[in-house]
Point group: D3
Chain length 239, copies 6
């Protein structure tokens, strides 16, 4: 039995709340159980210097954690004077994942920055950030569509969502929470599209190496979980 | 008439929501209209090196703003590599204000860090942070009281709250929102205790200098507003 | 009796020495007793990027302390790799205070940077910096006037000066030195114009909160002290 | 046909040269074609503070690139004042990969730091670093074994090696060089042990998402390539 | 003729003023013409961690320049976030020069930090800093001697002073000011002891390389200048 | 007898290997015994902002050390977040030395950056860097000459090379290795041209001051050593 008493393939309660920011063009408060991430999408009508006059836009992401989002208070990165390696790694992943489903040509010379700030953490913050970040991005594209700037479905050609799966006591389980993650033998993050295409896979043995068969089980769980997440994203975006 | 159409002495809708963090010993989501600040109070059973073996505790504060809390996205301080002057100034003010009503001797050798993170900004974030930060601090002291560590009312001897008042078109008005703040001739922040004692006053002429009489009007508005804020804090802490 | 044996309303010996820099367009070595601040005003015929083509100029200030200006040697901020919160807070205050009496339109697209470097500290460095910084600024404007660039009195419409007052043993006293400041119950800095207008007020309870009546006494001392400081500034500027 | 004119499953010329450092306890200059990485393993007879008195050792890695290892000169990270996100991500990966095959208990309270410095880059620097870093680590463990400090095969229970595979014109190819990497549709790095266990998988779609079937082909190439790399590592370690 | 109209071997007006700091154990305001450097020597009764329990003391130096010490205002290093290469180079030189004449064993486990802050610059700030820094150091040692902590002449076994010499229009000249330095073909700094021993020589061709004969002329000028500086130091220390 | 058992005037085995980088326009691996420095010269067809439209080019240098180039592993400067004072001092010296023999006018508006990265250190890294850096620079100029961009001998008018000499047991010896350097009483670096002109001299007493006569002996050794180094550079450049 998993510590969370969930079935191996059972995700936590998932919810997406749009329109949570007075200022941002797009926003979404995503919850994977006790992991809560506030995602905002900010539009700027200019692109980074190295993209000027390319006719293309840019989508990028930043990630942060409030100091007491975690069990023990962590030092504020702004006060430490730099973003840690983990933070940089995660925000690069979020950015790549979102860009993988975007047609930057259709965005025009605009930049959308998706900020994913973890209000409360209980494992799976990077997968929640990608999954909620996509909703915030779509929310922003719909805002632009209303103003005749783009057609949202031209820019975001597909949905993208992410899930972490792991091996707990030798069993493949979906959507690890913090306690499960701490004691898992393996942890893999999958980022996939609504059509089942692979955007990114990151699998790591925490202790002993794991086998190809076990990796296959994780993959299979991820495929189903992501299909469900995409269904929930669509529901949220139709509201 | 003020841009907000409020009466000169009318504050925005004020609310305090406790217990908003799974992890923090004390927490409070404070709202002054559209200004929302998440305040968490984190207990550590140790003090800074320069206070060791003094028998006294320490209360400190940190302040931050999510990048898109504001109308235009601001650069993330963690990415810029340092906290700006305004951030440092505000967090020093919050810390001083909270310590002004605390008996650090009664806290024992414990440190409480109050993090005030602005989720959404619409003016008055420093006064909301002090006012909500006090509720988070009390929430933490009550948590400690339940565990027999301190008597909350011994440590926090009084309430403390803060309000900004300003001169708008020559009229003294309470609780400026962002639009009002931007066009005010003067802006003053008052930090006062439940018993009406002065903890901190910061008044600034934005354009022309202002007169002692005008300052007196701001002071008078502040006194009444803070009395009301303290009443609302007490209500929130009794729930 | 105050530690300094001065009367409650008695300031320290105040002096302004102009023309102390071979290079700077304006300069003033200001002394408030043993607090000595070297103020230089540097003219640059350009403004910050965000002000270009506005037709307006800019006045800004920076503040620093030599490492052994103080009783114990303090770490050099350049070596620590950043300016501390106190430094940033003070230099923002000096800049605001000087701009409050300036007509930036009349300055044309020029920037004046007032550097206030504390050569020796004995309390009241920020008020000495504002008071002496104004003399350096005027010295620079007179330099510009001689060259037909501006009319000094058009740019600086009024004098500005500052004083710290505090409560010592329950008595309001003016111009605290370091020892008095360390044991004062309250400390308030007042920045006012020659005409008695309020530019900035910062009052802080060091221990227990203080009353409105006490604040009124501090205010009254400040008003008189600043009038005297402005008289001394004028004397120095006529020499 | 691949730009490099190699067969899809053909790696570049691979070589390991041990004993290339006068000072380091272990060292290896690894070459994957024109990608050259100098790996040194430095022994310190102490562990990081958070591991003291645990009876366990630690293996960690750092990664760097000489400024002109690349086609265009890149800014020196020491001069930029920080390690970039890519650098931090890679050095975390190298460290995790090496620790995955180590028994830290058997290492005793010693720390081994494996520095992987890219002398010349032509794609695949992270996989070359892991593969050559393992040889440097073993070289260091054999140095310790000679001095009776550990038994090398107790600490490093297995070999570990890494390869990048990618999709080029729809075909799965092994060991991408820089030109191939720049135009690949997908890029996946595999870290596996001598016994075929999975240590880490990182797959990324560069353009369109890719399919599970394609991922399977990459995996299959990687399995064979790593078996060959491990054979070459063994040869190098027997010399 | 030199721009300064001095004779080739003529130094600028040199003066040493001791006792210029209320707080520092030793201090000296040194002037080489228009180059003014405030030197303070701060005693701490502890040594850097790497020297603890060695029974020896430490003498170190730091160097800084006020932003408008120079003809054009320079960016404040504290605000830039780091000390520049030139600053680090100069403060290392000052420290080495002072230590070269000190017996650190006789100092006991005390550290003296000599801060050299350039109030006004007109060339030769590093040589003025060494020459004045030595007087501040001696001033501090005499302070310690009065309190029975050391015998000053045991710690500082010899005087040390420094001068810059250069080639101007092919002629060797002593004590270059800023204008001369800017147009000199060669610039050499000599640090020598009262007994004529060489502590440090740094000679640099600014344009074309110079000859050994020319170097010999610079050396000869330096020898005489330093003898004169040492005489003036002694005078100042006897007052 | 010196620790290295070399004759006083005997340098270590010196070698220059050109063409060691696939990417750099010029490169040279220089060895002074066990001191190995990889020098690359990178051409950029633009100059720093402050030189634009001057019609002149720029030659600059950077210096670094691999963490385990030394006997004990040193902290990576990129990870420490800044280049140390020693590094900055050395790279400024290398840049000055190379520019001293260059006609920047003849270079046109191009910048050449010479990176000197110490692969293995055994004393004399700065002199090896200058001597090998010159070969890399020439290698780059010959590359440019082949493409009709410059005439190499117009830009680099002379050779430049460097050697360290020191006093060991009172005897002047050439080309100190690390052990000798650690116990030398004096250490002097000489940078001279092929024609015997002086570019830079840096002499430092490590313990007691040394005499002019001793300095003369060091100078004499340096003159001969540099003549030999220039001969070897020429050989390498003719290959």
């Amino acid at each position: 039995m998993r510590p969370s008493r969930r079935q191996p393939d059972q995700m936590r309660a998932i919810s997406f709340e749009r329109n949570v920011s007075k200022h941002a063009e797009g926003s979404c408060l995503v919850k994977f159980g006790d992991t809560h991430v506030l995602c905002t999408a900010s539009l700027e009508e200019r692109v980074p210097p190295w993209m000027r006059n390319s006719g293309k836009g840019w989508v990028t992401a930043e990630y942060g954690m409030l100091p007491r989002a975690t069990g023990d208070r962590m030092r504020r990165e702004a006060s430490a004077g730099k973003q840690g390696g983990r933070t940089l790694e995660i925000q690069r992943l979020i950015g790549r994942s979102l860009r993988a489903v975007c047609n930057l040509q259709k965005l025009g010379e605009n930049q959308i920055t998706v900020d994913c700030d973890v209000i409360q953490a209980d494992g799976g913050t990077r997968t929640a950030s990608i999954t909620g970040g996509f909703v915030a991005l779509m929310d922003c594209l719909l805002w632009m569509q209303e103003r005749g700037m783009v057609r949202a479905s031209d820019v975001a050609r597909e949905h993208v969502a992410a899930i972490s799966c792991g091996l707990y006591n030798g069993v493949a389980v979906a959507d690890l929470d913090y306690d499960e993650d701490s004691s898992a033998q393996a942890d893999a993050n999958f980022v996939m599209t609504g059509a089942g295409g692979i955007v990114e896979i990151q699998g790591t043995a925490e202790g002993d190496p794991f086998s190809e068969e076990q990796f296959g089980e994780l993959f299979s769980l991820a495929r189903n979980s992501i299909a469900e997440l995409v269904r929930l994203q669509k529901e949220a975006l139709e509201r």
